[in-house]
Symmetry: C2
Subunit: 408 residues, 2 copies
Amino acid sequence: MRAGKGALTTKRGGLSAVAGVRAAGVACGLKKTGRPDLALVVADHPAAVAATFTLNRVQAAPVLVSKRRLRGGRFAAIVLNSGNANACTGRQGIRDAEETAAEVAHLLGRPVGQVFVASTGVIGRPLNMAAVRAGVREATRRLSAKGGAQAARAILTTDTAAKETAVEFSAGRRRVTVAGMAKGSGMIAPHMATMLAVIATDAAVDPGTLQRALGEAVAVSFNCITVDGDTSTNDMVLCFATGAAGAPPLRPGTPALDTFRRALEQVCLTLAKMIARDGEGATKLAEIRIQGARSMREARQAAEAVATSPLVKTTLFGQDINWGRVMAALGRSGARFDPARVDLSVDEVPVVCRGLGLGPRAEAAANRRLRRREFGLTIALHAGAAAARLWTTDLSEAYVRINAGYRS
Amino acid sequence: MRAGKGALTTKRGGLSAVAGVRAAGVACGLKKTGRPDLALVVADHPAAVAATFTLNRVQAAPVLVSKRRLRGGRFAAIVLNSGNANACTGRQGIRDAEETAAEVAHLLGRPVGQVFVASTGVIGRPLNMAAVRAGVREATRRLSAKGGAQAARAILTTDTAAKETAVEFSAGRRRVTVAGMAKGSGMIAPHMATMLAVIATDAAVDPGTLQRALGEAVAVSFNCITVDGDTSTNDMVLCFATGAAGAPPLRPGTPALDTFRRALEQVCLTLAKMIARDGEGATKLAEIRIQGARSMREARQAAEAVATSPLVKTTLFGQDINWGRVMAALGRSGARFDPARVDLSVDEVPVVCRGLGLGPRAEAAANRRLRRREFGLTIALHAGAAAARLWTTDLSEAYVRINAGYRS
């Protein structure tokens, strides 16, 4: 049975669900643990490409190199390594990123200007290029239409699970797929997330249209767990479109493009939530919803203040709704509101009404919600009509353990 | 032997080192543990007063009440309770704060408009006024010229030690003292600190001069551990001047006033560092020094980004100089600089030169410094001439333990 027009259907797997894509993941020795640390994702034919990059002033070499490639609008492959961020590595880092891309281009017989590079891991150490070269050769040999899952494993750092998702919809008489893989996962404050994502589609889209669609999807997904402008040195979301589904090109103003944009947004949001849920040491995923702010900007400020407050985050870990900490975070957020009008609820359980606590019984009911793995905090400021939504995790002792010993 | 003109001498003790001051600290039952939770500090004769308050939009009842009192410029007493912040408690909270002040005024036979109130503890619970009334009566009975240390203990929450300091200098033929007490101590991000401080001096100063001196001292001390504008619902620094030393009034433009300002700054800075050092779960005190920023504002932004980064703070706890995290924090701080010109050192040990790491041997030497309890991170941006200095702590597993279980 086929879903109706414009309907999105979730599919199993990730990048391998997309026609015209091959991938591989190998272990080349960049990680001391011997785990997979190099991924290669290839489009069989030149594909359209779009990408968003970190806005951090300190940008890793692969970010600088991939940014230049983006101007061409065409994609042949992306090579991603974990275990080393190739950031703060100076000119040598740029040369290493370019050499990695050149090696891939050479082995695949494709233009080097269409080969992208991404890295994640420790900052400030030179890349072991002997390992990278060997890894690239092995990954090229192992490229397969079923290699998406291996690639998804090879980009992980402190993530505890691979992150893949796929969505399908009808365009004309064809079925079109949008699928992706991502890695996290520092999540104490949303802006600390260090993330990479590669998204592929077999839709036919021109690079400009793809870039606009990706920008919109990232704004309401990855940027709601990683705050715009406040990202790490290596963050990158790359999307390429192979056109291999054989459906007609998606044109602005058509229903098919709208469906594609919804599919892309769903893929991004699913991956973003996977990243948040797998945040370092996270045991909870909380959706912070601000309502009734005076402007979008203030709604976002309020949501960020709550979502990044270590005191709020430890409260979530402790499963005890210490709502005063939420009020204190709102109060220093920069959003304008009257504290005596604020309502707060956990899922649908009201805890604060007009700035005053509803007492121990309400708090006990809310605490039962906090014992779940996922819940929402809804905060109504009653100061205007703007809303914002962010996802955050709790802050656990495990976070500290992971991050204090990360390099050792 | 007397120190020379303008020299500051450290004295033992806190508020009790100041002539014309009596204090007491009692346990009245606001804390479940039965520890002291109510402090009273009294000036024998009407004193000049100055204060700075939290800029949080959500302000506790005692902050609102004390702010009004400040307009009068005169001080008779301050009553402080721990165990309950009297914040987010609506009109009842205001009535409770006013009644507490009125009770003190009545018992002391002083004008209610000269009695200040401060609270710290859990937000959103009504004050147990029966306990407060009993506490105020007992504290009044126990008032003593030697009661400063008891008062300092009664204002603590999760602090592990009382915080007192005193400094002395010569003014004319008299010795003048400035002394204070403070409590912390949430310190994961500087702006999370929940702090109270009471400072007393037996100098003779008019309220306007005192307010200016206090504002300047707070800017380079408490506001360098608690970021201006980003404070909790209850933060308050109050300073009163009894004039009981018998020295001539301090007038603007005189050397004596300059010495007083230095003494006040030293008292504030000593207390601020005590707060930072005793931050929840803190095992390290790090001085973050930014040099060569394009403006004061950018220097401050850069220092704050580094000082509040959970990834940097866990690195300090782990005693491993993962300097890439420092670079990433600088990069998202908003400060403008060329990453390829940044130098970084731990104490005097260089780790990064012109944006590049100096290698494992340099890092090993830096890590030996990180094993100390106190050290400095100096970051030269080489983008301008502005500098800033902040103090921060590491982020330990104990922080999470303390904050996840705080209310339980």
